[in-house]
Amino acid sequence: MSRIAGRFEELARAGRKALIPYIVAGDPDLASTVPLMHALVENGADIIELGVPFSDPMSEGPVIQQAHERALAGGTSLRDALEVVRTFREKDTTTPVLLMGYANPVEHMGYAAFADAAAAVGLDALLTVDIPPEEVEQVNAELHRVGMDNIFLVAPTTPEARIARIVAQASGFIYYVSLKGVTGAGHLDTVDVAEHVARIRAASALPVAVGFGIRDADSAASVASVADGVVVGSALIRAMADALDGGADHAAAGAVACALLADIRAGVDRAAS
């Protein structure tokens, strides 16, 4: 069983929902990323989604775009992100980590080379925003060769027939994108989310996590009441960026993000109980 599947099973047994924070490797700098990941785990993270910075992050709203730009200004690469995972694993061998990014850095490294490197550092899964099931065959062959999960997005615009096609390629969990738009947009419709999550569950036994548009304990609570996991990204990154702008050092800014995560954790647990 993969580390991700195991984590969702543990949570289900405990009657809890997964909290999945997203941060960008190298934001605000590479040295602060691993300590931040450990701090996120201490403050309630069940799985960590580590963003790989890309020059053209087409699905991101302004907050995460700027995080990518900060990380790229420091020269953070896909190889650096893999090194982050290796270092994280020195102290934490149980928290699943998935890389989320765009096709080109992975394609440029080569799918086979990526899979080998990712397996060697203890990565659990890959989520590429712009590799849909139609284009995934070669990637999946390599990921599966090393026992890694591929996480797919399902969108509000995905028809039922496509849901079946997507879940057939997916493992680990399904990531439902709660709204039409980019990350950090803010018009979450919980009724609509519940309907779509139900449709995905009808097609697959995989856990369903929901992301895009979750910003605080209340929105996390409402999503957690209808899904197996909650992904939160822009809200954490905005909290951290605002703290940095206000003169906080990296550790203090990370602490602000962690305080928000702890608050969101409480919201998620409230919904589940």
Binding site: S55, M58, P62, R79, N104, H108, L153, T157, T158, V182
Partner: protein, 406 residues
Amino acid sequence: MNSEANQKPFAAVPDEHGRFGIYGGRFVAETLMSALDELEALYVRLRDDAEFQREFDEDLAHYVGRPSPLYHATRWSDQIGGARIYLKREDLNHTGAHKVNNTIGQALLAKHMGKKRVIAETGAGQHGVATATVAARLGLECQVFMGEEDVHRQALNVYRMKLLGAEVIPVKSGSRTLKDAMNEAMRDWVTNVDDTFYIIGTVAGPHPYPMLVRDFQCVIGREARAQCLEQTGRLPDALVACVGGGSNAIGLFHPFLDDTSVAMYGVEAGGHGLASGQHAAPLSAGTPGVLHGNRTYLMQDVNGQIMDTHSVSAGLDYPGVGPEHSWLKDIGRVNYVAANDDEALKAFHALTRIEGIMPALESSHALAYAQKLAADMSPEQNIVVNLSGRGDKDIHTVAQIDGIEL
């Protein structure tokens, strides 16, 4: 390269997955996939529909002013002293460039889909103007994304778009040029996919865009082929066109691909020279990768990050290229070369002074290479150059480089 996949006949590409050999495809976020499926299904139905084709042809004839002339530039040819150079006068189209051929076609698709709003990305502003024009004519809401740097260097076209009723949105992210405008247009589309049609301006992007933009632009090559036969009694020996995304080039080249005697040259923006690294020539100096929905040659660094580009012409200032060009390069059917900024500027001045035709800086890259090519050919041979747009929009840029204050 996968040679088996690359040996398909020209008419058989793209395949049902939108692939040209290993290039093309559909690399976008899930939210857009069903919209692309819908667009593909509609287009595949309409492209064989006589009524749709009649509507398209009528608009091209009576609104755009087609066919555009094929003009023998005798004085310029004589001065070069080599092959005869013919100019395909896309600069004479309504709105002043080849871009309108495509926006007319896509606007008809938007109308069929009942979309109330169109968006576009633009570099030099020609595609933005061509989109704003068809939007005005059909009463559609129109927003055009344009890199902040391009907004400054193409102020005239920005004002033209505003006069046409479009809203121009300056894009401040990344390198603030065409690729960032395309990122932002994609972000808008993913947010407003229900009521918005994205009019992509070149033969790039996710399937079916490279195919349908090519098909709409092929009117250039079909006309040029017939005009050549009529005026010279035979096919041309060579075709030359500039390549940014590559829509004017594919439009000229495609109807000639089966004519093996016709050599083809796609001219990329060499900027300050390929060796300087400051250029926009992915086919000449890049490697394959994935950007903006398709696999194609890209300018990228060792980590797969897309690099900043440089060209004197905003319309060629793009780190990628249409996937069909990548395929045509690999199979060796088209030669891809580069012309530098200063060569393009020289050609701009030459054509203006010798023929009384002021070419766009984009097209000037094709002219610069054609001049070199013609000099090595005999006076019995013919070259067709795609004069893809007129240069009025560029006079501020040229004046600035020449140190003249307007």
